[in-house]
């Protein structure tokens, strides 16, 4: 029975990490679908969310909710600024230049965070205490419930937004064909900017809700970012639900691998999965194959 309890424990923590990867993956997909860019600075928005909230909550003494809202706002503004200053001027550049630009931005944001907040690791207090709950013999922290709840909410909202609001539909139109979209009167520039804003907001939210469990520091963005990317690659860029499943799958694999095989190779699992998927099925497990136009 003990093994079973351990298993449920791994599964729970795996799923909650997986939910975070899925949220971060969403951010990648939104920008990629609008612009064709993989934003290497995505992980830095996640870091910004956590660090800003720690800053407002612990150092400025704000209550939790305003601290969170303010942090998401600032991260969103950072996302918009980044798009406006670095991405828009290079819209039609070759991928190699765009990759380098987003890497530059990611280093810059990380460096700025290190200068402002130092190199220490910070813990964000859990949203509703550290009293564990017992479900089916496994312990679960309230923070896990927050993570599941918020992830589900974000998924529902983004589905409603992209399928039923006029702006969301306009953004999808740009993703299919930017030129055609602009011909029917959609301002493509605004939509691209909006994709960066939404992506930064979701990323920072992910960073905030994970911070009480894993701690945060100026350099958490790299790993979280890459794992989010891994989630979206497993699921396929074109599939929203696929990203969620990809994230959960990755989280589970990591937790089980760390628990039953070796904790020190935990991070390697994500990258091996990433490479395997990229080699064998680059369109993702759930994505549709894209035809390439020349």
């Amino acid at each position: 029975m003990d093994n079973f309890r351990q298993l449920t424990q791994y599964v729970l923590s795996g799923l909650s990490n997986g939910a975070i990867y899925a949220l971060i993956g969403f951010g990648f997909a939104i920008i990629h679908n609008a612009t064709g860019i993989i934003n290497f600075a995505q992980g830095e928005f996640v870091m910004l969310g956590g660090m800003l909230t720690v800053f407002f909550l612990v150092f400025c003494g704000f209550p939790l909710l305003p601290a969170i809202v303010l942090s998401i706002l600032i991260a969103t503004v950072a996302g918009i600024t980044f798009e406006r200053l670095a991405i828009r001027p290079l819209k039609d550049a070759k991928p190699i230049r765009l990759i380098i630009i987003t890497i530059g931005a990611s280093i810059f944001i990380r460096g700025a965070a290190m200068l402002i907040w130092g190199k220490d690791t910070h813990a964000l207090p859990a949203f509703s205490g550290n009293e564990p709950l017992y479900i089916a013999g496994a312990t679960i922290m309230p923070q896990h419930l927050w993570i599941f709840g918020i992830t589900i909410l974000v998924i529902i909202f983004s589905r409603l937004f992209f399928n039923h609001s006029i702006i969301g539909k306009a953004m999808r139109a740009c993703a299919y064909n930017a030129q055609a979209a602009s011909l029917v009167g959609i301002d493509v520039k605004i939509m691209v900017m909006l994709s960066f804003a939404i992506s930064a907001a979701i990323g920072s939210l992910a960073g905030i809700i994970i911070a009480p469990l894993t701690m945060t520091s100026f350099d958490v963005g790299i790993m979280l970012g890459i794992k989010g990317f891994c989630a979206v690659i497993i699921g396929g860029m074109s599939s929203g639900l696929g990203t969620v499943l990809g994230g959960l799958l990755l989280g589970l694999l990591e937790a089980l691998g760390a628990g039953f095989i070796s904790a020190s190779y935990k991070d390697a699992i994500a990258f091996i999965v990433l490479l395997l998927i990229l080699f064998l099925r680059p369109e993702g497990l759930f994505g549709k194959k894209e035809t390439e136009r020349v």
């Binding site: 991928p95 230049r97 380098i100 530059g104 700025a112 020190s264 991070d267 390697a268 490479l275 680059p282």
Partner: protein
């Protein structure tokens, strides 16, 4: 002067200057910095073959550098093999891995290629950290012997300077030569338009794998030299950050320019020395440099220098014409 002659002259002047520098630099500290610039130049040139010539990015090149360093370190300290033999072995080994990885990895393009190479680099970095019995783990591997030829031991900066720079100059010469060859032209074609290149009968995939292999070979060689000159290696030198630093060197210097790689390596190696007063500022400055240069000077600093010298030359010429 024909283009070829001019290039030979430039290379000879460049080599001559570098080879007489140690006689004017008596200070060991500066020589030491120059040794690092040499190793970094070798790495930047290797990465430039891939990025500048073939237009393919790698965010995991520190892995090949690390493979060279660790293979040299492990086989000379634990098995007492001849260091020179191990250097060749290490380079061949890294090249073989690059060759095997190259086929699936270079099928990917653009952003996906960047992520895949990044993942590869981090897997190797984790292996360096976790195989403690072999690599010594995070605390590193020490006691790596210096290289020697007969009685000549490369155990001081003066000797290491020549060791590193003679090999670096060789690598630079080969790379310049490569760009003039059929392969170099084919690579440029792939860079500009892979589809067009394939239509012309170039096997772009195999070509990219080949250049990736050569690049890994050179990087591993640089790693071996690093291990033998430092006599100590630790995984922190071969992580993601260093891969990004290498990309920065290539971009700042100039994509596709071999002398640009030297310039980029020199700047990025000396920058932390200048910034020592403002500790921790280097990372933010790397980021800014990457953004600003990519946006406003896609040819890198070397193209800026060329433009400046051309302008200067034209002005000079105009004055001379007036005078006459």
């Amino acid at each position: 002067m024909t283009k070829e002659k001019r290039q030979i002259t430039i290379f000879l002047i460049f080599s001559f200057v570098l080879l007489v520098i140690p006689f004017s630099l008596r200070e060991s500290y500066l020589l030491n910095v120059m040794v690092f610039i040499g190793i970094h130049t070798m790495l930047a040139v290797a990465l430039n073959l891939l990025m500048g010539y073939a237009g393919q990015i790698s965010l995991g090149h520190a892995a090949f550098f690390g493979m060279g360093a660790y293979i040299s370190g492990i086989f000379t300290t634990r098995f007492g093999l001849d260091p020179w033999l191990v250097i060749i072995m290490a380079a061949l080994c890294a090249a073989a891995i690059a060759f095997a990885m190259g086929f699936p990895i270079l099928k990917l393009k653009g952003h996906y290629l960047a992520m895949a190479t990044l993942g590869f680099g981090i897997i190797i970095y984790i292996i360096f950290n976790e195989t403690v019995n072999w690599t010594g783990g995070p605390s590193g591997l020490s006691g790596i012997p210096n290289l020697k030829i007969g009685e000549l031991v490369f155990d001081n900066d003066f000797h290491n300077y020549y060791l590193v720079w003679i090999i670096t100059l060789g690598v630079m010469l080969l790379s310049i030569n490569l760009s003039q060859s059929r392969i170099g032209r084919a690579l440029r074609a792939v860079h500009d338009s892979e589809v067009a290149a394939r239509v012309m009968g170039i096997n772009a995939w195999v070509l990219k794998v080949q250049i990736f292999t050569v690049s890994a070979f050179i990087s591993a060689m640089a790693g071996s030299l690093y291990a033998h000159t430092m006599t100590f290696v630790a995984p922190a030198s071969f992580g993601f950050n260093f891969s990004v630093e290498l990309v920065t060197m290539v971009v700042v210097g100039g994509l596709g320019s071999i002398y640009g790689s030297f310039l980029g390596a020199a700047i990025l190696t000396t920058l932390p020395e200048f910034l020592r007063v403002f500790e921790d500022f280097d990372i933010i400055i790397y980021g800014l440099m990457l953004i600003v240069i990519t946006m406003f000077m896609p040819g890198g600093l070397i193209s800026g220098l060329q433009l400046l010298s051309q302008k200067f030359f034209l002005k000079f010429k105009a004055k001379a014409d007036k005078g006459a």
